[in-house]
């Protein structure tokens, strides 16, 4: 079940995490503006190539769209956890200025994932495969934590 951290994902779009992320983004499309958009196109903002990253300032306040994108990423992690375990996992994010912060996901009384955030203004992934890998990694980590303390996740 567990795969090496840097495993290449053959079909990123087929991973539970990416499916949850696409579903989460489509749920926000209240007026059907993205109905004809392909799934991969919806994820375009999550892709930041090395060159794009190089052209971004080292330090900057993240804009609201970027913050929303980070939050949506962790909401999708939570959805994928719920689909596999049946346990709701909801994120809480706290950002200070200049793109530093913290996000935690909890299920019941258990912190299933805790991550420090930095350079959030440059949040993004080199490719869909890397996006899928990092999302899946977070999902796997959280599910391991739930399996370690199941009675706390249900408390």
């Amino acid at each position: 079940m567990s795969q090496p951290d840097n495993a290449v994902i053959d079909d990123p779009m087929a991973t539970p995490f990416i499916k949850a992320l696409v579903g989460r983004i489509r749920a926000d499309d209240m007026y059907g503006a993205w109905e004809r958009k392909k799934d991969a196109a919806l994820l375009a903002d999550y892709i930041v190539t090395r060159e794009e990253r190089r052209n971004m300032p080292m330090i900057s306040d993240p804009d609201p769209d970027t913050l929303m994108r980070v939050e949506t990423f962790y909401q999708a992690v939570g959805l994928a956890i719920e689909q596999e375990t049946g346990l709701m996992a909801s994120p809480m994010m706290k950002m200070s200025h200049e793109g530093f912060g913290r996000v935690i996901l909890t299920s019941g009384s258990l912190v299933v994932l805790a991550k420090s955030l930095r350079d959030v203004h440059r949040f993004g992934f080199e490719s869909l495969a890397v996006l899928a890998r990092e999302g899946e990694k977070a999902v796997r980590h959280a599910i391991e934590q739930i399996n370690r303390f199941p009675e706390v996740a249900r408390a």
Copy 2:
């Protein structure tokens, strides 16, 4: 050790929670402006009488001072937990508009306290005794949770 929820506290200023809260507020006093202020005076903003509450609007966005006051309250809960258990307990607060939100305190991988917030623009307590009682109640609840799952609080 545990006391009924509505117990009257004889000396609110002597409770670990109020001591932590006063300490937390004084720590913000970088220029010594409040050095001559008595402890109880520092807590004046936390006291909202029934009449004051009646005169507040039912629904309103909380101002930044009020939000800070709520956050400081839960930071003090966290400090009092740490003083008794040796475990750091840090709050994360998430507010939506109109004073609704959620605060959780975590120690290690354990959610030691989770509370929905509402009507935050009217956040306050009828008296110092009620402030102390509510703070102590939160501290006791969190410590019970830690005692229930000590290995998770240390994870």
